[in-house]
Amino acid sequence: MLAPWNEEGRLLAAVRGGDRSAAEELVERTYSAVYASLYRLCGDGDLAADLTQETYRKAWEALDGFDGRSQFFTWLYRIAYTTFLNHIRRPRRITSFDEEGAPEVPDHSPGADQLISEREEGARLRAAVMTLPEDLRFTVAAHFWGGLPVKEIARIENITGVAVRKRLHKAFSILEASLDEEK
């Protein structure tokens, strides 16, 4: 995967100079990665799209506050992650599609069982990650689902790379215990 933060510095300067096309290019280069990381966090395509849109909305508002200490994408990922957290914390009405009387649509595609199994496993893993303490959760999500290198996470979290690795190690231990319990 092409690192989305490579040319962001140049584009950012143009955006700050009022170049709208640069802003569009910045969106073009980063929105897939933002969407993907949000999708991995929430597991819902529509929700991930909405959250991606909200992430950029917030990013434009906060652009003056971006000090360039970290990569733009790292900063953007932080906004996306916070947006996701705000969303899951927000009280909302949940409509279940598994209601009684709902039409059952059979899936006859090949390997459906396998897909379902993989999805279920992914959902379990995601649920386990969501139960992690906040610092560990962010570190795992940013590293594995956001594609951020350890160095960038350390920079945005104001900690050392060693501390990030320690967090990851601790998170693995908790995740293992959590997944074993489910089994």
């Binding site: 709208r20 395509g45 991930a48 992914g122 594995f144 693995f172 231990s173 995740l175």
Partner: protein
């Protein structure tokens, strides 16, 4: 945790489904890009300079406030000091100014001997100051009924003065200025002219026309300061030196008499 288990977890996390963004998401995001994206360096600089100048103004105001308060306090304290200096002798004018009156002869002699030698002009001034004090007593609202201090304390004061505390004289002269004017009219024993002495102006005038209710005080009852000034006026007008010296000696103005005779 085994290495295999860790690797398995890492693989599962990394292999989480990567979804493609829905079509049109980029357009939706782009539509929401604000029209004014410009991060204006000039505006920022202006804002910063405004903030700095505001801070400077606040600091300057505080400095001015503090320094003016300090100056005000200094001024007030000085005024207080001045007032206390001027009021202290004025509070009990009789006690202070009556001292020369009750000076006993030995004390006066002692005073004369202990005062350090000074040029004749200074001595004259001192004599004038000394003799002015009873004038102020005459003008003071508390007349002769005021109790006279004991001779012992007066002598102590006289000793203090003799030891060179000149501040007392300055204070006395200042307090004398505060007292209201006293006019004494008398007949000069030298020229026989009627002369008017003003304690406030310290001037002597030859009486040409009498003021309303003006009474002529006998020479013997005139204050020493008035006598001294009148005799000085006579001397300046070319009066008989010997006669002036004699009258001065009779009036107790020995310093003045000596200075005339020495000339």
């Amino acid at each position: 945790m085994t290495a295999n288990r860790k690797a398995d977890l890492q693989r599962k996390l990394t292999l989480a489904p990567v979804a493609k963004p829905p079509a049109g998401l980029a357009e939706r995001i782009k539509r929401e890009i604000p029209k004014d994206l410009r991060f204006n360096a000039e505006t920022e600089r202006e804002r910063l300079s405004k903030a700095v100048s505001f801070n400077l103004r606040v600091a300057a105001s505080i400095l001015i406030l503090v320094s003016s308060a300090y100056l005000g306090l200094q001024l007030l304290s000085r005024l207080d000091e001045k007032q206390s200096v001027t009021q202290q002798p004025a509070r009990n004018p009789v006690a202070v100014r009556a001292q020369p009156k009750v000076l006993t002869a030995p004390a006066a002699a002692k005073e004369e001997t202990q005062v350090p030698a000074a040029p004749p002009v200074v001595r004259e001034k001192r004599a004038a100051t000394r003799h002015r004090r009873p004038t102020a007593v005459a003008s003071a609202p508390v007349p002769a009924a005021a109790p006279t201090p004991p001779a012992q304390s007066v002598n102590a004061v006289a000793e203090q003065r003799a030891s060179g505390i000149m501040a007392f004289d300055r204070v006395a002269s200042k307090s004398a200025a505060v007292v209201a004017d006293v006019v004494e009219t008398t007949t000069s024993p030298v020229s026989g002219k009627e002369m008017r002495y003003s304690a406030r102006d310290k001037k002597v005038q030859v009486v040409t026309s009498k003021l309303q209710d003006e009474r002529i005080t006998p020479w013997a009852s005139v204050s020493p300061a008035a006598k001294l000034k009148i005799l000085e006026t006579e001397l300046a007008a070319g009066g008989d030196r010997k006669a002036i010296a004699r009258v001065a000696r009779e009036a107790g103005l020995t310093d003045f008499a000596d200075s005339i005779e020495k000339r």
